[in-house]
Amino acid sequence: MKLVSAIIKPFKLDEVREALSAIGVQGITVTEVKGFGRQKGHTELYRGAEYVVDFLPKVKLEIAIANELLDQVVESIESAARTGKIGDGKIFVMDLEQVVRIRTGETGADAV
């Protein structure tokens, strides 16, 4: 099992969700986050007072999947979230040791 964690541009969330549903992903956890990468921040100007905003708003997705879905999931996120401009985000892939479905007590691949 794998845990895929993706940081994407907020307005791409719907497209990514649709792409993932289309390949059979059963669940996603979404968090609003802030951060910086190569895109850096931007400056805001209020009556001459300049503020550098270092952390830009992004959306973080967490998806637990079976190993065989991994390549499809990564490709789907990559193509749906890409604008080609700086700041499109990153995808992290991690091994997942255990999953438990709380309602039934199922574990492992059955619980994903």
């Binding site: 100007l45 009556r47 503020y51």
Partner: protein
């Protein structure tokens, strides 16, 4: 003994010169009242009150950080309530009753003598407004007395103790606003006698509030973290809505200052609208050219600067004069709020001085340049206007400074560092917006 009493009576008569009877409000037949004028002045009074609550309150509240929104709204609202009471008890009397050139008399303490007698079909009218009931005139003037201290609050936003603010505003209203209003507007006031032109309060309201704001910003000092931490406005939607209410309400302020529904009110309305549009564009354009982007905060600030600057001139100038006043005030206020303030390193949080002080000074002086005799019946004089503006600024600065220093010694001016960091909403009022 006799000598002494003569001396005393001479002194008394110098202080409280025998009021000329003609300047006291007269009891007249209700039939002399103009329904049209009265209807417009009732409307104007409501419009000007609306400028403070919620107009100015929202304008300011949008510019502060989220932790200080309610405390900023609270200042405008509490000032509104407090000045209402003070004005009825003594402020109106000292400002608008005959007295000496420097302060009015006590003929309207608790509004005693302001009459409406239904059975006799008589009521009192003020000599400045002979076609409307004195009650409407008193109320109209009250709304000006309310907005002036509320404007000052922008200079010390996010750091002043509420209790000290209330004490300061009460004393400031009686010791600064009331006398200056008397000098400029009351029959027999020394500036009125010298021909200082102030149609709707450029000197009395805006120079006064702007200078008091500057002094307050200097005496209180900067907010913690000013210049180092981000202090971006939390919601410019509120600011834009508030500025729009100010713009609309200003027709009551300026066109209402004709104290009649007549041609002069129409001219004042025209000048107000034209100058405001021009000033908004001027600020926007200057910012666009200098900084690369036209901002919402910029264009609404420009509009308010134009409204301030046209205030003394509305009712004296034509459309061309209004355009010129709008252009100059928009550019100068932009420069003060965005450059001068940072160069001189004072923390006028919401630019009470940058917009109202500078706009007021520009407007007062330019009224002398652009006054058209056919409209206002008087020639303007730059010299007279400048003397009036400077005299007000100096008097206001001295008394404001003294008041703040006394209050600082007795009860302190600023909240504690902890309270300031936590935010005034929770620290002073036990509430927050989310």
């Amino acid at each position: 003994m006799k000598k002494l009493s003569i001396g005393a009576s001479a002194l008394l008569s110098a202080l409280f010169a025998a009021p000329s009877f003609a300047n006291l409000p007269q009891l007249v037949a209700t039939s002399t009242i103009s329904g049209g004028d009265t209807a417009w002045m009732l409307t104007s009074t409501a419009l000007v009150l609306f400028m403070t609550i919620p107009g100015l309150a929202l304008f300011y509240a949008g510019m502060v950080r989220k932790k200080n929104v309610l405390s900023t709204l609270m200042q405008s609202f509490a000032i509104c309530a407090m000045i209402t009471v003070l004005w009825a008890v003594i402020g109106y009397s000292l400002a608008f009753m005959p007295g000496n050139p420097y302060i009015g008399g006590l003929d309207r303490l608790f509004l005693d003598g302001m009459l409406y007698l239904k059975d006799e079909a008589k009521l009192t009218v003020h000599p400045l407004a002979a076609s409307i009931p004195e009650g409407v005139f008193m109320m109209f003037q009250m709304t000006f007395a309310i907005i002036t201290p509320a404007l000052i609050a922008g200079a010390f936003a996010e750091r002043m103790k509420f209790s000290s603010m209330m004490v300061f505003m009460a004393l400031w209203s009686l010791l600064v606003y009331v006398p200056v209003a008397h000098w400029v507007w009351a029959p027999g006031g020394w500036m009125a006698d010298h021909g200082v032109l102030d149609f709707a309060g450029g000197t009395v309201v805006h120079i006064n509030a702007g200078i008091a704001g500057l002094v307050a910003a200097l005496v209180l000092g900067k907010r913690i973290g000013y210049g180092r931490e981000a202090m971006a406005p939390h919601n410019l939607v509120l600011t834009m809505v508030g500025a729009s209410m100010l713009w609309v309400g200003w027709f009551g302020f300026n066109a209402g200052s004709a104290v009649a529904a007549d041609g002069r009110a129409a001219m004042a309305m025209v000048a107000t609208q034209v100058a405001t549009g021009m000033a908004a564009l001027a600020w926007m354009a200057a910012e666009w050219i200098a900084k690369g982007k036209p901002s919402v905060l910029g264009i609404v600030s420009g509009a308010v600067a134009g409204l301030v600057a046209i205030t003394p001139a509305a009712g004296f100038v034509d459309a061309k004069g209004a355009l010129a006043i709008g252009l100059i005030s928009g550019l100068l206020c932009y420069w003060t709020a965005t450059s001068l303030k940072h160069m001189l390193k004072y923390d006028d949080s919401l630019d009470a001085f940058g917009v109202h002080g500078v706009g007021g000074l520009v407007g007062a002086i330019l009224t002398g340049v652009f006054a058209v005799k056919e409209i206002g019946g008087v020639e303007g004089s730059v010299m007279t206007q400048t003397v009036g503006a400077l005299a007000t600024a100096v008097y206001c600065a001295i008394v404001t400074f003294a008041l703040l220093k006394i209050i600082e010694a007795v009860m302190g001016l600023r909240v504690s560092e902890e309270e300031e960091r936590e935010g005034l909403d929770v620290a002073l009022h036990g509430e927050r917006i989310e």
